[in-house]
């Protein structure tokens, strides 16, 4: 039986482990914490599977590879909500919506009635909106826990310290892999979780704004995740300024958020390469899967598949960087 080690049990490590298990491989996953938790930046993710919206600023391959994510997660038994995304702007930023529509695909225009039909609580608040029906979302923490449990049931060994054994290793440690991947950098993201008993949303809503863009992802029990800042820093402090910006934008999106309960404020640094695209880096028997930036849940499935393919089948996927450092 083939064996492999996976370093890191964030979204990248768990997805790689799942692909390895699917190949009948005996897998050991090492992580400083044995359960998914706040030490991994995927814990703080929004959980949007929104390849088309990301295409506003991201490369074409994020749009393309990201389209496979929802099916993959569902195939793992994770609850995926396939209701699309709503994109809106405040009155004075109307042109931002036109620009966004021009630069992205897969969307349909909604007027006030169309928006009300999809999200009744947004009735009368926006003259027009975009609906991106093919997009989806999931609860990232539930997804990580589910995937971990499923892997454990499939015989994957979760340990705190990696074994010293040689052999095939998938290094998915995110920013902790900076010792090996020197051009990795941290891009800070801050998020807020609110609970509102007044407001109901079925799908993620993105509020475009030149200075304070916001997305709101509904979760169960009246919870809403607000995200996320994007600051060139690997600092993990939660700043007052960022939280104020997120809360102000949420309040502008819907005044009901003013009455919401402040449940959580989080921050972490996303691992990114200079082009903000993920990479599979092969060095002997070690394969690095890293640089998922703000696209962890969106791109980890495709990356994992490619990384395992390159290890077992010798394929050269498009995100493969072969170096011999």
């Amino acid at each position: 039986m083939k064996t492999a080690r996976v370093l890191g049990a964030g979204v990248a490590g768990l997805c790689v482990a799942a692909e390895l298990v699917a190949r009948g491989c005996a897998v050991t996953v090492s992580d400083t914490a044995t359960q998914p938790g706040p030490h991994a930046c995927s814990w703080w993710a929004g959980g949007m599977l929104a390849p088309f919206c990301e295409g506003d600023t991201a490369d074409e391959l994020v749009v393309r590879l990201g389209q496979t994510a929802a099916d993959w997660w569902e195939g793992q038994g994770v609850a995926v909500t396939r209701q699309g995304t709503i994109v809106v702007t405040l009155g004075r930023d109307r042109k931002e919506l036109d620009r966004f529509a021009r630069r992205t695909q897969g969307h349909f225009w909604l007027d006030t009635d169309g928006l009300t039909a999809l999200e009744p609580d947004l009735a009368g608040r926006f003259e027009r909106a975009l609906h991106v029906p093919a997009e989806a979302h999931l609860d990232p923490r539930a997804a990580l826990k589910h995937l971990r449990d499923r892997l454990e049931q499939a015989g994957v060994d979760f340990v705190a310290e990696p074994s010293q054994a040689d052999g095939l290793t998938f290094d998915c440690r995110g920013l902790s892999a900076r010792d090996a991947l020197t051009d990795l950098r941290g891009v800070k993201g801050e998020m807020v979780v609110l609970r509102s008993t007044d407001l109901r949303l079925t799908r993620p809503v993105r509020l475009l704004h030149p200075r304070f863009p916001l997305y709101v992802v509904p979760r169960t029990d009246g919870l809403f995740m607000l995200g996320a800042t994007q600051i060139e820093s690997d600092d993990r402090r939660r700043s007052v300024r960022s939280v104020m910006e997120l809360l102000s934008a949420a309040y502008a999106l819907h005044p009901s958020f003013g009455e919401a309960e402040l449940v959580e404020i989080g921050a972490d640094a996303r691992p990114a390469f200079p082009d903000n695209l993920p990479r599979i880096t092969r060095r002997g028997y070690t394969i690095h899967v890293n640089g998922l930036f703000r696209h962890g849940f969106l791109l980890a499935p495709a990356l994992a598949r490619m990384a395992v393919e390159t290890a077992f089948d010798g394929t050269k996927p498009e995100l493969l960087h072969e170096d011999h450092a």
Binding site: T57, R185, G186, P210, I231, S233, D235, P274, D275
Partner: protein, 256 residues
């Protein structure tokens, strides 16, 4: 062009914020040949130089760095940020922004002069982000500034030169002072116009960073800056309100 004794060859300066990725930012600099990069210190600073990875990418651009105090709303904040910038980037150059209005991001003229005086006193080479106001310009020069950065329009609006009369007056009043039109430019034609009016350089960020193809837009701006500069040096014709045929109209009484 000499700015505080340093020869700068390119008359295009670019900001480093809001690009889709540092790789796109590097492309934009390469294709435009921009000679100066402004860098924001404040947001990225955090604890223990947490923005170091990004700054080292900016350093790799190989251009002169001009740190800025973007987002500072008080004299104290701006001065502290400038001091931090000097330490981080090992330069006395500072683009001084003291924002007076949260919505329009207009400079606070009073705070700007005060901060400029403090910083020049501490040996900084101050590039103040200012309005086109002539009196304010005079005060900034009194405070020790040797370069001025009047706005074209409020930051990030892309409106172009909204007060052409004011900018012309400013240029005419201080013809020896290097001036960089900073902020509000949206299109290469706006940059060309500023250069045609005799400004020494332009600085922009959003127009390039938020374009669908930032590198192409940066190159477009570079051509415009060059075109405008050549036009200024070439002493343009004066516009007139009647047609003047470039070929004589023989045999007609045209001075009727």
């Amino acid at each position: 062009m000499r700015l505080y004794g340093t020869e700068i060859t390119s008359r295009l300066m670019l900001g480093t914020a809001q690009y889709p990725s540092p790789a796109v930012l590097a492309d934009a600099f390469q294709r435009s040949g921009a000679g100066i990069a402004t860098v924001s210190v404040r947001r990225e600073a955090g604890a223990e130089r947490a923005g170091a990875a990004f700054w080292s990418l900016v350093r790799e651009l190989g251009v002169t760095l001009l740190p800025n105090t973007a987002g500072c709303h008080s004299v104290k904040e701006a001065v502290t940020t400038a001091q931090m910038a000097r330490e981080l980037f090992d330069t006395a150059w500072i683009k001084l922004e003291v924002i007076g209005h949260a919505d329009t991001l207009q400079p606070d003229p009073f705070g700007l002069v005060e901060a400029a005086r403090i910083l020049t006193g501490e040996g900084f080479r101050v590039f103040p982000y200012t309005t086109e106001d002539v009196v304010l310009a005079d005060r900034l020069l009194d405070a020790g500034c040797e370069v001025l950065m009047p706005w074209g329009a409020p930051i990030g609006t892309g409106l172009g030169l909204t007060n052409i009369y004011g900018l012309r007056t400013l240029r005419a009043q201080f013809s020896d002072v290097p001036m960089v039109v900073d902020a509000g430019l949206g299109l290469p034609s706006h940059a060309a116009m500023a250069m045609e009016m005799g400004f020494d350089a332009v600085l922009l960020n959003t127009a390039v960073a938020k374009a669908g193809d930032p590198a192409a837009m940066a190159e477009g701006f570079a051509h415009a800056v060059q075109a405008g500069r050549l036009a200024w040096q070439a002493d343009p014709m004066e516009p007139r309100d009647m047609a003047a045929p470039s070929t004589p109209v023989i045999g007609r009484a045209f001075l009727e």
